[in-house]
């Protein structure tokens, strides 16, 4: 039976019928849980079922991300998801929780843009848009040498069977497709007290009220803006029985 991991929002409890819980952010260091939150989550259940999701990091954010990882590891968390090359380098140099390459490191090609001519694409191009980086063996070997044992995927716009790259377990996001990341935070003003402010002082306005809808004439369904992350709400288009065994973990990111 596949494991099911649920993403837990800021302040929410990690409880319920699940194999594990995920906290943190793929895109913003300001949304990482603080030391108190990390400890209380670890104390509330089996820390081995906890995943710390870590974001892209600017030069002034690396220490904060590494501090959170260090604490999580010391408190027995089971998994760290890494979405930044520098964080990967630092984490791989130290023993601890399992290292997973997040969606931002894999850089799956998800659109939108015109992928309408799917029928006109040959097999190679289809593989490229569905699971391209999973066919880049030198890249995967590089990740393996950095200690990465698991890769996080999300459903492509047009489904193809998931490949099973040697040496890696696979997690599949079942609710969201990661589309892009805004270069700056739209909730913060473009001044030294906003974008450049100390992350610990951020009041996290992006987490209040749920994700925003991004509508465009060219799209049938809106994208979702969650902080700096642009996501697309999706459903896994195939049954679990159609996933390879190597996809042994399903991730749910329920929107409020």
């Amino acid at each position: 039976m596949r494991e099911r991991y649920f993403t837990v929002g800021p302040g929410a409890e990690a409880s319920g019928d699940s194999h594990g819980f995920r906290v943190g952010s793929e895109t913003c260091a300001r949304l990482l849980p603080g030391p108190g939150r990390l400890s209380s989550l670890a104390a509330s259940g089996d820390p081995a079922g906890l995943t710390l999701v870590t974001p892209l990091a600017g030069p002034d954010e690396v220490d904060r991300v590494l501090e959170a990882i260090s604490q999580a590891r010391s408190e027995g968390w089971g998994e760290v998801v890494v979405n930044d090359w520098g964080i990967l380098r630092e984490v791989s140099a130290r023993p601890g929780a399992d290292i997973t390459a997040g969606r931002l490191l894999l850089r799956l090609r998800r659109g939108p843009g015109s992928l309408d001519d799917w029928d006109g694409l040959d097999g190679a191009s289809r593989r490229y848009f569905a699971w391209g980086p999973l066919y880049d063996r030198p890249f995967l070997d590089f990740l393996g040498r950095q200690g990465v044992a698991r890769l996080e995927l999300d459903p492509p716009r047009h489904w193809l069977p998931v490949p099973s790259p040697d040496g890696f377990r696979l997690s599949m996001h079942c609710d969201t497709r990661l589309i892009s990341v805004l270069a700056s935070c739209p909730w913060l003003p473009e001044d030294s007290e906003g974008q450049g402010a100390e992350p610990r002082n951020c009041e996290k306005p992006c987490t209040e009220g749920g994700p925003l809808a991004m509508r465009a004439a060219a799209l049938e369904h809106p994208l979702r803006l969650c902080g700096r992350a642009i996501l697309e709400r999706v459903r896994l288009p195939v049954g679990e029985e159609d996933l390879p065994d190597r996809v042994d973990r399903l991730i749910y990111d329920p929107f409020p």
């Binding site: 002034d60 930044d84 001044d191």
Partner: protein, 326 residues
């Protein structure tokens, strides 16, 4: 890898985009030190659509028409004292594509290309394993956005980092100070990206060259209510601004003093006269940038901007808005 040194002891350099042999001499004469560009070989275009990336450009006018023309451009640049950087900066190459990318890297070494602009760690590993002796510059697609990331890529053979556009001046200075062993290159004119380009999956394939990030996005709350004003203004700013008219001229003094002395003009596929104008103006401003500061410098940059783009600058197409506040 170079050794740490005072940024002021190295002349500032300009990289200019190029996509045709006829552009080489005018751009070098205008003041470019480096040219950068790429080409899609026939065996690539016969196999893949434009959105399957060899070098991050999805429209033919941004590419050299043939490898022969590209080789002639590389040789001409070298004869004229310039250098050429070849774009092989797709975020990944599938195994069946890797051999072609590697062949191009080897070809680049043979014809005298000065550097490969790369983003796929897999390609970096293969280039080194193959003994291809061409310096590698980390594309902004590679996301060398913090010190350990730069060290990681330096360990793979990268000697220069093209700074991600989302870093502000303070972060750039911090990064350069933390890892002074590599060179740093900053975007300075044209082509601001509203998203983190190294992870963005928006496909750039519209015939009108208007990408999804430039669409007229309507932002609302989860139940259709009004979005927070700051967010609405953010997207309105993106919609009402041509991201191609981007500029960081005011920040030249801060970048130079922070240790960045290589500046990139964006615009493969732009008309030659526009490219030449950009390089000429940039070269002229750089002559006084080391001493530039205060309102007079800013005023001069704003006038230069207006002459280049035909309208006043705005925060939305400013690479480093904090330069104005400083």
């Amino acid at each position: 890898m170079r050794s740490p040194k005072d940024p002021f002891d190295t002349p500032a350099q300009i990289l200019a985009p190029v996509n045709a042999l006829a552009e080489v001499e005018p751009l070098l004469e205008a003041g470019a030190d480096w040219l950068y560009g790429g080409c899609l070989p026939g065996e690539w275009t016969e196999r893949y659509p434009a959105t399957v990336l060899l070098n991050q450009r999805t429209f033919a006018s941004a590419q050299f028409a043939s490898l022969d023309e590209l080789e002639a451009a590389v040789r001409m640049a070298r004869r004229s004292g310039g250098r050429f950087a070849l774009t092989l900066n797709a975020p990944f190459y599938m195994d069946e594509q890797m051999e072609l990318a590697l062949d191009m890297a080897g070809w680049a070494a043979d014809v005298g290309v000065g550097a490969l602009i790369v983003a796929d760690p897999g390609l970096m590993v293969r280039v080194r394993e193959a003994g291809i002796a061409v310096p590698m510059h980390l594309s902004t697609m590679g996301l060398g956005s913090n010190a350990p990331a730069v060290r990681l890529f330096a360990e793979l053979g990268v000697t220069r980092v093209i700074l991600p556009r989302f870093l502000n001046l303070r972060q750039v200075a911090m990064l350069v100070e933390q890892v002074p062993e590599v060179e740093y290159e900053a975007f300075i004119l044209v082509g601001k990206c509203p998203n983190v380009e190294g992870v963005c999956t928006f496909l750039h394939d519209s015939p009108d060259l208007r990408w999804p990030c430039e669409w007229d996005w309507e932002i609302s709350g989860p139940c259709g209510e009004r979005a927070p004003e700051a967010v609405t203004l953010h997207f309105k700013g993106m919609r009402d601004t041509d991201r191609r008219d981007a500029c960081g001229l005011c920040a030249l003094p801060a970048l130079l003093s922070g240790g960045v002395n290589i500046f990139k003009v964006v615009g493969r596929g732009a008309p030659l006269d526009r490219k030449v104008l950009m390089v000429t103006r940039l070269r002229r401003l750089m002559a006084g940038a080391r001493e530039g500061s205060g309102p007079q410098w800013i005023q001069g940059c704003m006038e230069a901007y207006r002459s280049l783009f035909g309208h006043p600058c705005s925060p939305q197409n400013c690479y480093y808005p904090e330069a104005l506040q400083e």
